[in-house]
Symmetry: C2
Subunit: 485 residues, 2 copies
Amino acid sequence: MDAAEFRKRGKEMVDYVADYLEKIEKRQVFPDVEPGYLRPLIADCAPQDPESFEDVFKDIEKIIMPGVTHWHSPYFFAYFPAASSFPALLADMLCGGIGCVGFSWAASPACTELETVMLDWLGKMVNLPEEFLAGKDGQGGGVIQGSASEATLIALLAARTKIIRQVQSEKPELTETEIMGRLVAYASDQAHSSVERAALIGAVKIKNVPSDDTFSVCGSALKKVLDEDKAAGLIPFFFCATLGTTPCCSFDKLLELGPICNKENIWMHIDAAYAGSAFICPEFRHLLNGVEFADSFNFNPHKWLLVNFDCSAMWVKKRSDLTGAFKLEPLYLQHHHQESGLVTDYRHWQIPLGRRFRSLKLWFVLRMYGVKGLQEHIRKHIRLSHQFEHLVLQDERFEICAEVVLGLVCFRLKGSNELNEALLKSINDAKKIHLVPCHLREKFVLRFAICSRTVESTHIKFAWQHISQLATDLLKTWEQNHHQQ
Amino acid sequence: MDAAEFRKRGKEMVDYVADYLEKIEKRQVFPDVEPGYLRPLIADCAPQDPESFEDVFKDIEKIIMPGVTHWHSPYFFAYFPAASSFPALLADMLCGGIGCVGFSWAASPACTELETVMLDWLGKMVNLPEEFLAGKDGQGGGVIQGSASEATLIALLAARTKIIRQVQSEKPELTETEIMGRLVAYASDQAHSSVERAALIGAVKIKNVPSDDTFSVCGSALKKVLDEDKAAGLIPFFFCATLGTTPCCSFDKLLELGPICNKENIWMHIDAAYAGSAFICPEFRHLLNGVEFADSFNFNPHKWLLVNFDCSAMWVKKRSDLTGAFKLEPLYLQHHHQESGLVTDYRHWQIPLGRRFRSLKLWFVLRMYGVKGLQEHIRKHIRLSHQFEHLVLQDERFEICAEVVLGLVCFRLKGSNELNEALLKSINDAKKIHLVPCHLREKFVLRFAICSRTVESTHIKFAWQHISQLATDLLKTWEQNHHQQ
């Protein structure tokens, strides 16, 4: 395919994507296919001779779309949102066209420098303390990671290197292995599975800190496990605080936890993967109070800030903590501007070496929406979650299971877990809307997350009427069966 | 921006990208900017009110392009190629439009299933042993990682988990920490820095195995370090073989190394990041002989197979080795098709949780080029590297520093490292072409990598004439200075 054909086909693809997103509401949100559906529809091996664009294009509707879960359907209320917007799609086209691999400043200066400035913009939007910004000669700064999981892992690894060096300088008789064996990381019992995974990868112990009645970790809970572990000769070194947990969007109490971590020489990382985007609204910024005690902070514009996946924003107070953990400098990656103060080589800030020009997406989205446009998007979602909450509260058969702070409503039928599992199954089998569940303590709970950019009040009303009707049907048969037993 | 405006702007962006790539030759391959150039050109913070697409669009040429290193210029001969093609750009547009996050089968079945089948296609193209393919009920299979660094890390972590379990079952008196302290990973002294980094992250020792005169690791070299380390009570568990090293594209001797690894219970991972794409040509497939001894194999279609970054293909013989290393299953990620045999949840195969629909790029590229079209691309690059090699060999002032096997030529002026550093500086300062150096043993060497999809024989001739002229100029002043001293 030459440039001339690309012009033609690219425009057809733009129209296809526009059509897809404009009419997505008409597609069934969750697919009908069974595992293994795709292989029989496709050749056994790649063709020897080129096929035409038309051949491939017509297979999109035939082979791909029947197996797609439509994350941008206004009937999609599962997981957390995956951001999508037209400015981000345009920026991604440009990113692909430029196609540079920005592992060092020299590999494409624009790619590195725009990222640094965009992370400063975004940091200011959530009113991060100045220490986290790169500015002209700051010690901190931001980086785009692929996912919150990577941000957590990088923070844990940086913390691990830092504590090992400290302990070794104080007690030179200890080997690195002996120190590693005594390190402990901590996170809420509500924290995302990626925190436990980061500890597994980093080969350090991790302990759950019990959350309170509101599913938040408070200072005394952390203090208790720290005291026990220190008494047992362990070395606490890392705490991952969560703002907006995945099960129910609860918030750890930073203002209590931060001073403890600072006093105990524990790296505090804040994972605000979903909730972080809301902090651009002044009325929700208080949820981030205490960030001044943290060493690193992360949230995902690719969840809720209209920047298509992947774009996970991470800031650190001391960039040398990250670069010091990994810096390896083979000659083919050195360049004469290195170590000049202004130069950032982002490969030292992340797990992979290569990286796309992802800051273009932030640049397009922040400018074409403006802060006000993005605030409007966040506020609309939170308004809709409260609308759903009120509908649930008006129905005595149901209960709300956690405070609705942002765009997630955790709810269930008053009754057994089996009953609620049956309700979720009937909802997802009907495929008019799509939800996923969670456990809150022993309770099986349904999560209703406001996801799509285009979801409106009418979709919420529809979703509730549908759930309510399915509950009525379910309760009827459930009571009959229950009677018969 | 609504869908109607996206249709208009998307088509403008298609034309911009087509123009950029069609006329890229006219742009200076390496930018003139100095570190810190971008910040003064840009506002201090994000705008409150939305800006128009025109405002942003005109800043691309004003702010971004002056700082871009043009990786797709036919005058770019640095690092290794970053793949780019029109079919891949089209697929990426579709990927962005669908915008699903495919961490589990249920999160978008098409995203998972197409990936499995595409990795089978690709595996067959390089004639991988059947054990590495997923097929309908294979124990192996492929996955798309973001980069070779991640593939190496994942392989090392899987190997680490496996060996710890084995040792613990044999010697239950050893703690995990004690075992970790005795583990050793190995790689060539020519291996990529990401291998050492993987060991740092995984908190295990890593040792360089000395390469021979051809910069290859042979069996006896590995055997020697293994014997020493075992005698010292260490536990060798992982060897990363490199096919196509970054400095000079040398090849470790798989047929000698593989049987040793198998006998010694060492996980053999093959990093063929760059070279792997060449194995689709039967005349280069012999370089992969010995893969049958490996546990995992990785190469980057995003380097040399016309699939835009990121798309790093990794295969394992036993998928349970990867999933067993990490499997964590919170309720919100469970779905009723789990563990059904046909279902793959790729989140267990990788570091991040989220993932884009990257297999679309493989699907578009493999079909629209066909195997023959891709072989042609590889063969053209290798022809051009030999053309450059011959030009160098005809000039007695120069020497070739390593066998030219694929698309990389390592060369230098006969003389001191300082002289060659000066030559590289004069080449990169002139900015007509762009190269990076490497060290081969004590020698400072220039790397000439065939990179761009559109590079032709005329560009090679131009590059050589230019280098040759700069060398003439340099040698003149160099000898004068040398005389004066």
